[in-house]
């Protein structure tokens, strides 16, 4: 069987990042926007691991590990903020949280 070129992994990472951007810009529910951010972080993790394979060094794995940890902390705090927004505004659509708009 032929081997998979590493550029395919990087292009897959780019495609996933693009999907994350699409979800982040286009969707209105704040939870879906947050999930698109997680998708972008995962795409970047794939890039890190792919380059770590290219250079045969595991520093990429360590960076990926830290990205995972920071994403977990961010998810915890972000979801707590979402809960507070829901408690105070009663809505989960980001368009309706506009009381500071001019």
């Amino acid at each position: 069987m032929g081997h998979v070129p590493l550029s395919w992994y990087l292009i897959l990472s780019a495609v996933l990042f693009g999907c994350g951007i699409a979800g982040f810009v286009y969707r209105k529910s704040v939870i879906t926007v947050f999930m698109s951010i997680e998708l972008m972080l995962n795409a970047v993790n794939l890039s890190f691991v792919a380059f770590s394979y290219q250079l045969h060094r595991i520093d990429g794995h360590i960076y990926s590990f830290f990205v995972m940890v920071v994403a977990a902390a961010e998810a915890a705090v972000g979801l707590a903020i979402i809960l507070t927004i829901f408690k105070n505004r009663g809505t989960l659509q980001i368009d309706e949280v506009d009381s500071m708009k001019l």
């Binding site: 081997h3 998979v4 395919w8 209105k28 691991v49 394979y53």
Partner: protein, 166 residues
Amino acid sequence: MDTILFIICAIMAVGCAFNLVLQKHPISSALSLIGVMASLAVLYLLLGAEFIAMAQMIVYGGAVMVLFIFVIMLLNAGTEKTSGKSWFAQIAGFPLLSAFVALLAFLIRVVLPPLRPVEFGSWVGGTAEAIGMLLFTKYLLPFEVTSVLILIAIVGAVVLAQKEID
């Protein structure tokens, strides 16, 4: 064998990513994201990153996404409204995004130096032992700072989510 596995996982990852963006209900999006993470874990295993693959499933698939699903179930987040979306995003969004991804793909193919072919088993450097050695010697400061960051996140989440004391 590697090629078939890569193609299956890549199709599943891209399919689940599209599903995440296109689904109306947040729970379907959450499950699609879990599908993306699972297929990415298999791709990490193909790239020789066994510890990161397992950490991905434990941390992302077992903790972060469970948190998402909890919040969606607790808040009873329904399907989102479809009115009021900007016409610019709807018409020009997809072509611009495709152009961006195509630009990235072009840069990857042309600008980067020649890349290795990925052969499963040719490099098994992602062992827990190697990562542990590096994590506690060279990257000790980020490790300690990250632990403080997680502590801040825990305190912040507890404070934000506690009941009002009236």
